[in-house]
């Protein structure tokens, strides 16, 4: 009983003190500061693009892992899981070795006139790299939990694989996919280490909210509090929005 209470207090207290210390009176003025708006916009845009990439590439991967038996499947699953436990800074360094100016892929790309590191593209890549494993693992779990007999029924009714996926598998696993989206998006929104290592900290192009918070903390602690509260509110709002949807579905 007591340890449980301590745990709750431990998790809740810092958020309460954060709200309590926030200079609410100057909040409106701070909100329209271009630097903050830029960071917020950049964070929302890059996280959203990252999660879109997760959906585009990660969803088929999750489906393969859940439904298709192929050689080396468990190996692929391990490979997908590694970035999940990798320290984000290490992820950033690894991304530099791949896409950096002298990286294995970065060098030939630079010859084509494409530079990735320290651009907004790099932010998206870093976000996708850290968010994709969360997304894939969570969606694979949801697909596994969905009764495969529905796929079988759909096949006997004449549906091809794509139709089965689109009209049966995906809708039935939708709550799990949404959970994956939220997890991946939140992970991406809070991403710090890989971004600062691989994309740098340039206001307007690569300075996302967490980087702005970190920078502000050193020069203007009040600004850091404001930025933190904004991030907190955005996260909670998204969570509430999606929960509403789930609850609505469950109640139907």
């Amino acid at each position: 009983m007591l340890p449980a209470l301590v745990a709750v207090g431990f998790l809740v207290l810092p958020l309460v003190t954060l709200l309590q210390r926030t200079p609410w009176s100057t909040m409106p003025a701070r909100l329209v500061e271009p630097k903050i708006l830029d960071a917020l916009r950049l964070s929302l845009v890059t996280s959203t693009i990252a999660i879109a990439l997760c959906l585009l590439l990660g969803l088929p991967l999750a489906w393969m892992l859940a439904r298709v038996e192929f050689a080396g499947r468990s190996l692929v699953r391990v490979a997908v899981t590694v970035p999940l436990v990798l320290p984000p800074v290490v992820a950033g360094v690894a991304l530099l070795t791949a896409f950096g100016r002298n990286g294995v892929l970065g060098a030939p790309l630079r010859d084509l006139g494409i530079t990735i590191p320290f651009t907004t593209t790099a932010v998206v890549i870093a976000h996708t790299f850290v968010a994709m494993p969360f997304f894939v693992i969570s969606v694979e779990g949801a697909l596994r939990a969905a009764n495969q007999e529905y796929d079988v029924v759909a096949a006997t009714l004449g549906a091809d694989r794509w139709t089965i996926f689109r009209r049966v598998t995906l809708p039935i696993a939708l709550p799990g996919v949404l959970a994956g989206v939220v997890l991946g998006w939140a992970r991406s929104l809070g991403e710090f280490g890989a971004t600062i290592t691989f994309a740098g900290n340039f206001p307007g192009t690569t300075q996302t909210m967490p980087l702005a918070v970190y920078e502000a903390l050193q020069v203007d602690p009040d600004a850091a509090l404001v930025l933190s509260v904004i991030l907190l509110l955005v996260s909670v709002a998204i969570l509430a929005l999606l929960r509403e949807r789930w609850l609505g579905q469950a109640a139907q």
Binding site: V153, A155, V168
Partner: protein, 368 residues
Amino acid sequence: MNAPAFLEAEIVVRRTAHTLHVALTAEPGDVVAVIGPNGAGKSTLLRSLAGLLPLDRGTISCDGDTWDGPGTRTPWPPQRRNIGMVFGQHLLFPHLDALDNVAFGPRSRGATKGQSRRTAHRWLERVGVADLEHRRPHELSGGQAQRVAIARAMATDPKLLLLDEPMAALDVGVAMALRFELARHLADFGGVAILVTHDAIDTMTVANRVVVLDEGAIAQVGTPDEVAQRPRTEHVARLVGLNALRGRSTGTDVRLLDGSGLVSTTPFDGEVFASFQPAAVALTLDEPTGSARNRWRGTVRSVVAHGAAVRVHIDAGAALIADVTPASAAELSLVPGRQVWAAVKATEVTVYGTAAEKSGVPLPSRHV
């Protein structure tokens, strides 16, 4: 050689327990019941016909198309086979309402959204749940959901309808009502229906052919009446509620497997089943002195109501079933554990050979 049958299948599938090896043919309008104990291979048979399980050997052809066999490079996948399948659990798509569940098949086979929904609506009317077409599966009762599932399987106008214990999950009363409806739908059905069931009544009311599976092979083939009157496996005998004891007959004397003897009035030489109705078994507390020549001493195992009678299971070496009137059940105070004598007149015993049709013999069709 005759023209090929509408459905011709020879199915060999290796399973861990045994190899399923079944050959069957059927013509449009046939409703084939497949019965047998758990693990006999009934579901394996259905799933391989559907293309959900690969054949290890054999062929499946239907209406001139070879779905699987030496002539086809790869087996046709389920979606190409023109089948409909009904499962024990209704397995309606939980995110679609009844109408869209039934429309799913026609839509997947190329009909427009409007056409599919009209087809679905017609089918829901036929199975009597059109007023529930906008309900999701969890808002339907078990019987309603299974009606929708039957409509869904039949809405694509399949050539082969596969029903895998469709009543198994339903309450007894609901199952009884649905059984007669199903018989009516199948009577109007233009293809071949194959019904896997555990229920003797399903077999009697719905099917015109019965295939008895035992350990992966066909143990018996016949009309429901033939199989019910002369069951060739103890499983079917129990299923139809008949005493069928295995033994060896010489003239009218039958030596049963447990060593006891039995007398019939039908001379036969060889391995036999000696069968008699539960109602032909008379129970007494003392050794009977009447004309009945076949008698066993045994222990009552269970006593349950069975229609107007009381059905008594007796362990007398062989497992016997006796039907007695409630009055005599009370008079004998029949309870589990009670010692009784069971007697059967020789004239009540039917003796027939155990030699089963070999697997591979085609089903006789009512159209021949």
